[in-house]
Assembly symmetry: D2
Homo-oligomer: 345 residues x 4
């Protein structure tokens, strides 16, 4: 009953097999090997467009290096108040960019509305002394388990681009968003105005497979140099490439993400039917937020279950309740969910 995080799971058998297969003979270093080139081609197929692909070590690396490559001192990055880049990366974007600021926008269940974006943009007119907005960063799937459909992305990106902002998507759980919306990767990104994407494989069945996928290379500068000096250029690039090859081949990534989403839906259905618990809010991807009796949480932990409490300000919980986050992954089994729901009652 591991619902702590999708990064507690290991790698899928397919990813392990690809790693074993890639471990044959010598190959040029720093990304000039044939496998890395082939995988770049795979990305272009998946996104129906010739893209630039920059492997990095972590999602934090992708987010911060990509945003830094916009290269605007005094620049502002607009993001939701729940954004991972704001709350969980220890100022990585501020650091890599030499001091850009993040400006947070109100969100509902992780999603920013067009109205919130419009209001925020209006706070920084030409000549203001706070800074100049240079990027909108959307997380999809969001940190609250919800997703933006292509139309929502397009509306937000359209507003941002109209004022000259670049559009970034934090796709640490991009597979879950694609699986949940049923949209094509291209529709969720560049066709809706996204300029670059932090594409995460780690949470969805890889060991460490992260990349910046660039749709609008003219907007980012010096990514090669930035990545190198940040220490994110792997010498044995093929060990990332191998993971991504297994990931992208034959739609594996969407199958794994779909499984994780299905386990989350199983959780949501069970919690909606529960007499002891309730959903904190609706979600569509592989994160579920539920209000449980504290006593139940304790019992689940005693039984070896893992899960995290979540801030519940303003949600009107009783003193006996707590909000928890439940994350499913490719490795979550239906039985694991069933046992959990049985304990919730």
């Amino acid at each position: 009953m591991n619902f702590a995080s999708d990064n507690w799971a290991g790698a899928t058998p397919e990813v392990m097999a690809a790693l074993v297969k890639a471990n044959d003979g010598a190959a040029p270093a720093y990304g000039s090997d044939a496998l890395t080139r082939r995988v770049t081609g795979l990305f272009s197929e998946v996104f129906e467009k010739e893209v630039e692909v920059w492997f990095t070590a972590t999602g934090t690396g992708s987010n911060s290096l990509g945003l830094a490559a916009l290269s605007r001192p005094g620049g502002l990055v607009l993001c939701s108040s729940e954004a991972h880049i704001h709350s969980d990366e220890w100022g990585a974007t501020e650091f890599q960019s030499g001091g850009m600021k993040l400006v947070t926008m109100p969100q509902v269940a992780g999603r920013v509305s067009a109205e919130a974006l419009r209001q925020t943009l209006s706070r920084f007119p030409e000549g203001n002394r706070f800074g100049v907005p240079v990027a909108l960063s959307l997380t999809n799937a969001t940190e609250c388990g919800t997703v933006y459909a292509p139309a929502a992305v397009a509306e937000l990106a359209g507003l941002a681009r109209a004022q000259g902002l670049a559009v970034h998507m934090d796709g640490a759980r991009f597979g879950n968003a694609v699986a949940a919306t049923g949209a094509k990767p291209a529709e969720l990104t560049w066709k809706s105005g996204v300029d670059f994407l932090s594409f995460g494989g780690t949470k969805n069945g890889c060991w460490a497979a992260e990349a910046i996928v660039v749709f609008s290379p003219d907007k980012l500068s010096d990514l090669a140099a930035r990545r190198q000096r940040a220490g994110h250029t792997f010498s044995k690039s093929r060990f990332v490439a191998a993971q991504f090859e297994a990931y992208l081949t034959g739609g594996n990534w969407l199958r794994w993400a779909g499984q994780a989403n299905a386990r989350a839906e199983q959780l949501r259905v069970g919690l909606r039917a529960s007499s002891q618990a309730r959903l904190g809010w609706g979600s569509e991807a592989n994160e579920v937020f539920a209000v449980l009796p504290r006593e139940t949480i304790a019992r689940i932990r005693l039984a070896g279950g893992t899960l995290y409490e979540w801030p519940a300000e303003g949600m009107g919980l009783t003193a006996d309740e707590d909000l928890v986050r439940l994350v499913t992954s490719w490795a979550t089994s239906p039985d694991e969910v069933a046992r959990f729901l049985a304990m919730v009652g």
Copy 2:
């Protein structure tokens, strides 16, 4: 006949097996898993001292984050003119530290002498306006295939510490240095005055296994925060830990490094006996520098061999010759070397 670099090789079978074994079930993320803790213990055994171990994505990450953690604006890092941190990392240390400067010292075959260090230190007296020396960085094995024995490290580190500098060792090929000198890891490092070590496993049989090993934690500040915001904190930490477990267990790392060194020695012996080629300079670890006829280099490449030309300023080469670097690894076979030597003649 791959002599391009030791990072062209894949992972050893033992490392692959450990990865497969670690891929079982769920484990806490960000280094709080049991395997990562166990491996930290292994490091402490290997170094005969309780050490801090910080996994990073690359050697550049280790070098630059460790040096940045000395946290001295306007600080100077003293290193050899051939140092990787100076010549191959695109200003990583300058960037991570917010602008520390590297001051290069003359070297012979990659090694800095005590006299060179003394002279350099004397250039920055109290109150100078250039900057204040805060670290000595030694690479062992050096970028030129030579090694520092414990006595040499101790002499240099002693001079540096006497003036308040911290001592860093870039150990991208630390295994090769230990194997070549026959010294104990402790003797080559903290017992000789080294405060922190960039410990590299990648070039010696791992996929991506790098760590900052800290002997003097009081001298470095905020490594956890620095690593996190630099995007070097892997979520699935056990995939690095597994590699290091295979690496450090049963002396595997020294066996692999020893094999690489032996193949380099086989090259050196053959080149010394050659009528067509000669050594550029003597070396002890797994890098060999040789002067070859350009025509021979071309033939080797035609036959599928890989190797890199190297700057040969001041070495008095004829127009028909070139200096090349030959790197061996755990994967280099005696037969590969023999075929190479046969082509050299």
Copy 3:
């Protein structure tokens, strides 16, 4: 009728005279001259404690260099949502510190309450992944014309220090705060827990006289190096020292600040009595916020008056009204205020 800003005024006759006097003969550069030393002594007298004094070019320089000297990667600076360091310095603190984040707290008329600080501190427990609070920054007088009395400073600083934070005071208008509260400089600062102060003379009768006054030197590191590489170390230091000598001698600075405050009070009294206008909120120092008919604002400008509109969200203004900020300075005359009030009606 200049109410645009106190930095639109020139220098006082006393400051000009001191500059002329200091312009005699040669003097050592970079702060080693006798006048700079003497002025450092004056600061120590004024603050009843031996202090470190670091001249800088601007208040932004003082704020950002001082906060950066706390030297904590991933560090958080807590400040009011109206703080100048957050809203008007283009990310100076983020930049100088290599990426520290500012966390804003709700305020009322520019002042943060103990309750708001308590709640904010509770959001960042040990082990959180957002960052670690390292400083509380208070502006006194605030950006909204109000002041913190010593007891308020002591309460806030006490909470901050209890959790290990350093306490910074942005004193761009420190003279106005001292004059308005009647407190001693020592009481408003170190005796109430302030560790370092951005001491501004520019807005109160100098040309460019700013300094970081350090009460707790152990908490800041490498200010000399930070200032030098930031380009804030004036070679002809005496030109700043001369201004400060005139400023601090014989209580000039408090006399000038008192005059500015008195003109603001004259404005407040007049506006309270007005049938056409009203105060936005009460204030004590040299900034007054007033709601005026737009038509009146236009007439004042036609008559050569200067003043700025201010964001008035949530204040319930009618479409015909606007909120304006009125700033007085040492150079504002009673007659200027009277003419303004007459136009307001």
Copy 4:
């Protein structure tokens, strides 16, 4: 007998008078005042071209902000081994630029030769892993008192521009260079390929008057934001503008620089005729380097004279001699020089 530095002198009477005159009434802040605009026009006249002018607090500020505005991570700035930006600014350029590296070139009496530049450029071919050269920085007058004539600037700048580098001139003593060469300001700068100039008035009769003069605005990005967040945007801009108005009006600056140069020439003539001392090398601007008996140096100091010893490596001095730097300024009198020469004998 002050020969310590030209920044030990105060301001000229003309500069003081201009300050007094500018101190009349209110003026808009942050550079939007009429005087600042007028002075920008003066700069355009002096340089025979419409230029951008950005006041900064110090020469270090100008150099580092200008170079940082080239905005290239991993970028290399090529400069002489004696360059002030390398040796005297505590890593300001490395800091402001987020880690660009300075690459030093050999020089003779402060001047870099075309051959040295050519060789240095050849060390960084496309695809090298050290970094990419982005700027050539020349100091004129040099740190050794010599000057580049327009033809020398044009040759060096031509080589640099041919490889895509921008060309910066550190003109802390630009007036002295113009006066010594007799060239027009335009000829020494943009007509010879200089893209931006750190224009210094401080050492030549101002209090603190420094500016970045930009001839090729397309090559620099975001200078306004960079200057603001670096704390170099003075609120009372007119106090700098006033200095520059006095400076540039009626050729004052060239008259003052010419006087300083003439006093240096008086020193050189006297030293060439001396039986006890000799010139270290020939120079043309207001710095003179001389070899004096240590005993003479001591006597001069006893008599109240000021001067600094200078590194003399490789100059073959005897144990009784030392190399000293003698700097003259607008304030140096012929009599002061005569007394000095008399003591030298």
